[in-house]
Amino acid sequence: MAFLIETLIGGLLSGVMYALVAIGFVLIYKASGVFNFAQGAMVLCAALTFVTLRDQGLAFWFAALVTLAIMVVLAIAVERVVLRPLMNQSQITLFMATLGLSFVIEGMSQLVMGASVHELDLGIVDTPVEVGPILVSQFDLVAAAAAGILVLALSVFFNVTRIGISLRAIADDPQAALSIGIRLQRLWRIVWGVAGFVALVAGLLWGSRQGVQFSLTFVVLKALPVLIIGGFTSIAGAIVGGLIVGAADALAEIYVGPLLGGSVSTWFVYVLAVAFLLIRPAGLFGERAIERV
């Protein structure tokens, strides 16, 4: 029983980290209707930049600031070079463009900063904490806390600030938003910048867990089921979806895997997510679209 709870808690905590990646998707999808596949490449780019700066001897906060600045520059460039010329194109075209973008970002990052695996030490001690009979990874706790704070901050940002409210207006009806003088393109830059910041946080946490390397881009594939379950448009959904996916992934690996004779982690959460969809087609918190003929 203790082992079951331990697995569950471990899964939930890594679920928070999945949610972190998923939030990057939600932000951009809500504001611009773009399903940004380059989010994984952005995570890699942020983590690689940070590690390279740290290797040059920069202090933690300074390295983080410089990386953030680079992510913001990237966001502005993406809006100018990719999004603006593709305005009013179909969503699938934009999706493909972000795929191309992910090639460019991955290639650039590795070209400039090398493809070798980097260690990333955030200075978090990873000794397990004992809670009664249960062992919990301290690193996971810190990571989950960091993700939780980020989510709270984002919620405040979107619900209280002027920028956040304009973003919600755009998500609701881009034309109406434009007609009352909301500057769409500036907001896109801001959203991509914020998504870059989220990618930085995700890159740091994931990078220190599994090393900064190309496989960081694959965390995107763990984030997709989170999006299916939680809905593409809801930050709360991303959190709940992340928790479900994290827990299901961990439990399935222990209890379902042996039954089928192998690791099931590549597909189990996807099948679960599809099963979810059959019950709630717009995800747990997604908005139900009303169609007019």
Binding site: Q89, M96, A97, F103, E106, W267, L277, L278, A282
Partner: protein, 370 residues
Amino acid sequence: MSSAETEAAADFVAPGAARDWRGLRRALPLGLLLAVAFVIVPLAGTDYWFNAILIPFLIMALAGLGLNLLMGYAGQASLGTGAFMATGAYATYNLLLRLPDIPLPISLVLGGLIAGAVGVVVGLPSLRIKGFYLLASTLAAQFLLEWIFNQYGWFSNYSTSSSISAPKLAILGQDLSSPVGRYLMTLTAVVAIAAVAARLVKSQTGRAWSAVRDMDTAAAVIGVPVARSKLSAFFVGAAVCGVAGALWAFAYLGTVDARSFGLDRSFQVMFIIIVGGMGSIAGNFIGSAFIVLLPILLSQVSDRLFGGTVDAGQLANLQRIAFGALIIWFLIKEPAGLAALAERGWRRLRPSGTAGPERGSRPGNTGKIF
């Protein structure tokens, strides 16, 4: 106005002899192209051309055709292409292995049909969801099927290595394992399937697909059987992809290997139809030429420019950047796909008096599926 409507209208425009004459004129370039492909290329081509360029180009165009029927014509986005191809490859392999009496072409077709049946199951969620949700849910099939083929030895006849060599290719005692033989086999399959597909998209089924793509709620209101259309699109699309997968394994690689049908393959095929043109048969070939040739071209160019001075890893990164940037550039320049570009160029070349209302698919109208 939906493209289905314009196509339908154009079918009634030119009755009788005039229509036949125009059909002939339109068929002429295509006939010439086929003559070159079937007669001149086998005589003139080198083994390198067959193995490295022509065979993969044709097979990827076929896979693109499969996805294009599903996504470009019926509007059902899918990233399960790799899984459909793998299903076709493994199904054909097992048919050849376990039922050696069945001739190769029949096994190919049966393999395709099995992939189609799997496609219907994968397509079931499309009855409830659409757009990116559907796209993401087809990933479940992609990962699950890839895992199954690796996990259970029965599919690979308990081979100890993860890749299994394909049986010898022969039709009616005629050995087809030479590069020319494999090229001709691939070409025949691709041309036959493309011809069927070109008819199919103008049949009632094809019109229903377009209606569902343009707006499924509206299609349901006017009495198009939406569920049947979606599932039949999944069946046909997956079946065509399945044949492409079998050809990929047998005519191109010579081995059946689940790793060559991963998610990257699915993305690659989707690139083909986006770059080539959604809702266009010819677009698949243009897109495939782009996707197959570009990496070869890029590696040639970078070898010439930086050969010896830059290490292989950096070269790969440079190619990655160039590939991604070109994709974005083409999407910006021609969001409706290269087929639309080619069609515009073609129309400009023709004398203006004979232009008339054009027939056939018009990629420009069909780019927006969700």
